[in-house]
């Protein structure tokens, strides 16, 4: 048993092999439970946050009945979902139907183990952290395909196929974008990635290299697709596929799909923060003022807000547009970023400074173009501003 365990750890590339013991096994179980509970809590908070933010965007009030300002609305929802019947469609593959949400949830939770929340707060300090996160996060695809296949429903099948096609495709630009930063940092360990960005906002990779900035944009777009959020929510497109792969799920099994989506959001944003936005570092030189994990959570929350914001502003893409965006735009752009980052990694200190200036110029140019585009079209009367 012990030999097998050590071989497994060695195969995974873990350097500090802990000898197998009952105590360690118990610790693993505790951590796993902790992660699961954390996942549930994150989902509870995110559902409420999403509903409040969407209400703000859509000029509604949002949930305001259960508890002060509707804070316990999601708790009430959770209780409802827990007590609801789990419906199994006739002639459905019951085993696969039962396993699918579990697999999706596992795929959502496994990456959490390697995320470095703060200096020293990390469950598994893996030297291949990023690889592990990217690898385990894609487990969910199998679960979604299983759910789609096992439901004995044509909508679910279409949704499952879409999920598989989309998530596998977008993993490629996502991985390439991540690789660009890995090349610059020279490490796959999430803890060391944060260490490498110490010393103020100018040390964040997004501001250290124009290629990392491009990679950051690719990563943010493709991470939206990874977690099936608008404008890439095709697998569960309500107006087309009813509910996609989870059409035939009810009660807690459906809730597990939802929870996985929110945990997935946390994971992709945590990775983006660790890679591009300084990880658990504050924006100032020296030790983080509030404690690293607060900074980390704040940055994740900011990115999550952007994801919710995007969801309630943009419509959905069509499947061919989704694919051409990935393969014709993001992948070539990602390769360019990777190439540039590789060249930058070979440069000396002067070259790095030049690249930093270039990164700020890219950032400034991007923001200027964005604002110019917004100001140009804002509140133009309908007949004049329509593109021809």
């Amino acid at each position: 048993m012990q030999g097998m365990y050590e071989t497994l750890l060695a195969a995974l590339g873990a350097e500090r092999v802990v000898p197998f013991s009952v105590g360690f096994a118990a610790l693993v179980v505790v951590f796993a439970l902790f992660a699961a509970i954390m996942g549930a809590v994150v989902a509870l908070i995110m559902v409420l946050a999403e509903r409040k933010i969407s209400a703000d965007i859509q000029e509604r009030i949002g949930p305001n009945r259960v508890g002060p300002m509707g804070f316990f609305q999601t708790v009430a929802d959770a209780v409802k979902l827990l007590t609801k019947e789990n419906v199994l469609p006739r002639k459905a593959d019951s085993i696969l139907h039962y396993c699918a949400p579990t697999l999706v949830f596992t795929g959502g939770l496994l990456p959490v183990a390697a995320i470095a929340w703060s200096n020293g707060i990390v469950v598994a300090d893996l030297n291949i952290g990023v690889l592990y996160v990217v690898g385990t996060a894609s487990l969910g695809v199998i679960g979604r395909l299983m759910a789609g296949w096992a439901s004995n429903n044509k909508w679910s099948l279409l949704g499952g196929m879409r999920a598989a096609g989309q998530m596998i495709s977008y993993e490629i630009p996502n991985s390439i974008a991540i690789l660009s930063v890995i090349v610059l940092a020279g490490t796959l360990n999430l803890q060391e990635l944060s260490e490498a960005q110490k010393g103020g906002i100018h040390q964040w990779f997004v501001f250290r290299s124009p290629f990392a900035f491009v990679a950051c944009l690719i990563c943010l777009v493709s991470s939206l697709a990874e977690v099936n959020r608008t404008p890439f929510d095709l697998p569960e497109a309500e107006s087309e596929l009813v509910s996609g792969y989870h059409t035939e799920y009810s009660g807690i099994r459906w809730a597990i799909f939802m929870m996985s989506e929110y945990i997935g959001m946390v994971v992709v944003n945590a990775v983006a923060v660790a890679l591009f936005f300084g990880g658990w570092n504050g924006g100032l030189p020296g030790e983080p003022l509030l404690g690293g994990w607060i900074w980390y959570l704040l940055k994740i929350a900011a990115l999550m807000y952007c994801q919710v914001w995007v969801r309630f502003v943009l419509p959905r893409l069509r499947i061919d547009q989704l694919m051409s965006l990935c393969w014709k735009n993001l992948v070539p752009l990602g390769f360019l970023a990777l190439l540039g980052a590789s060249v930058q990694a070979l440069l000396g200190p002067t070259g790095q400074h030049v690249m930093m200036v270039a990164a700020w110029l890219t950032f400034g140019g991007f923001v200027t173009l964005l604002f110019a585009a917004v100001l140009k079209t804002r509140h133009v009367p309908a007949q004049d501003g329509i593109p021809r």
Partner: protein, 371 residues
């Protein structure tokens, strides 16, 4: 060894989030590709035409509310114009003004509903709620005037059920001012959205000849470049004395015959309706808007066909009178029914998402298709 593949039959509706009621589409799909989409209708059939033969003319009005339940005022309008033409009577200027105000407000409400559900079909949720925010204001105005929020039963043969309530003009004015600002915001969010344009441009093309051949009307017809509007070309009520443009697809609008053109035509019509309401609101002459005829009207023996411009197209009422208090035949030409007929023709070899967009752009109301 070659794989055996077969087409999948997909039943979209009658319960589906995007069929706008109880439409049933039998869709043959090859993966994401729709090879054929056959609409099945009749789930909401209520025998309106036959039932109308057992009712007096005034009694039919509330049933016309239920044809196209998103534009009840316009249905009322078409029916009373038909009966008035059959009887050869006219109504006072004040009543006509109020009729046009209500019809145009209802057109705005109906188009808002279209934009909302259309954006929902495309996966955008916010325009839907923004449109409902403004539609709610219109419904409040209708509620104050007619007492109802959906089925108004407000028009009468020879007049109206009730006069405007005091102060309602100011309320409509302030609503219109606020509404125009809201529409500019909607343009920023939806009309010029790059994804919206990418999703709609060139999708569901209906050439001009096809549009005419299938008897399309309203925004569907005008989006294909046919300059035809009953309010201008076959005028009724006081439309000849009002100034308005008819938005037609083409160079000026920036799109022709596709889903985007159909959206833009409706979006532009909203602006025209706002202008029409404003024109009617200025200096409404005094007068008695209550009907000047007996409750049980007896039109002379004869028949009449009148078409008026509904938000969804031409609604035509054919009435035949045998001189009694009840019509001997009522026939409705429902715009949604004719517009829907082209759906099968344009939804071949497209993607599933396009089919939903096309269905949304036809803007059907099943209450009118099935009657």
């Amino acid at each position: 060894m070659p794989f055996k593949t077969e087409e999948m039959l997909l039943n979209v509706g009658p319960q589906h989030p995007s069929t706008h009621g109880v439409l049933h589409l039998e869709v043959t799909t090859d993966g994401e590709l729709v090879t054929n989409a056959e609409p099945t209708i009749g789930y909401l059939h209520r025998c309106f035409e036959k039932y109308a033969e057992t009712l007096t003319y005034q009694q039919i009005i509330p049933y016309t509310d239920r044809l196209d339940y998103l534009s009840s005022m316009n249905n009322n309008f078409g029916f009373v114009v038909a009966v008035e033409k059959l009887m050869g009577i006219s109504v006072c200027e004040r009543a006509e003004r109020i009729r046009v105000i209500m019809a145009e407000l209802n057109r705005i409400a109906s188009h808002l509903m279209f934009i909302g559900s259309f954006s929902n079909d495309l996966g955008a949720m916010t325009p839907f709620l923004w449109c409902f925010r403004d539609r709610e204001e219109i419904l409040k105005i209708f509620e104050e005037v007619s007492g109802a929020r959906l089925l108004y039963n407000y028009y009468r043969i020879g007049g109206l059920a009730a006069d405007l309530t005091p102060g309602i003009e100011d309320r409509i004015h302030s609503f219109l001012n606020q509404f125009e600002a809201h529409m500019l915001e909607l343009d920023d969010l939806f009309t010029r959205n790059a994804i919206v344009i990418a999703r709609l441009k060139g999708v569901g093309m209906i050439p001009r000849e096809t549009a005419i051949a299938y008897g399309l009307s309203g925004p569907m017809l005008r989006a294909s470049g046919v300059d035809w509007d009953c309010r201008r070309d076959e005028p009724y009520s006081i439309y000849p004395s009002l100034r308005f443009e008819v938005p037609v697809g083409g160079e000026k609008l920036g799109a022709l015959g596709d889903c985007y053109a159909r959206y833009l035509v409706r979006r532009a019509e909203i602006d025209q309706s706002v202008s029409l309401v404003r024109q009617c609101l200025t200096d409404i002459p005094p007068g008695d808007v209550k009907e000047q005829v007996k409750r049980n009207v007896r039109p002379p023996v004869g028949e009449v066909y009148v078409r008026t411009e509904n938000p969804r197209g031409e609604i035509g009422f054919y009435l035949r009178s045998d001189g009694s208090t009840k019509p001997s035949r009522v026939k409705v030409r429902a715009p949604s029914f004719c517009n829907m007929s082209v759906f099968n023709r344009i939804s071949k070899d497209i993607l599933v998402a396009d089919m939903i967009a096309i269905l949304g752009s036809v803007d059907i109301v099943l209450g009118e298709i099935d009657r």
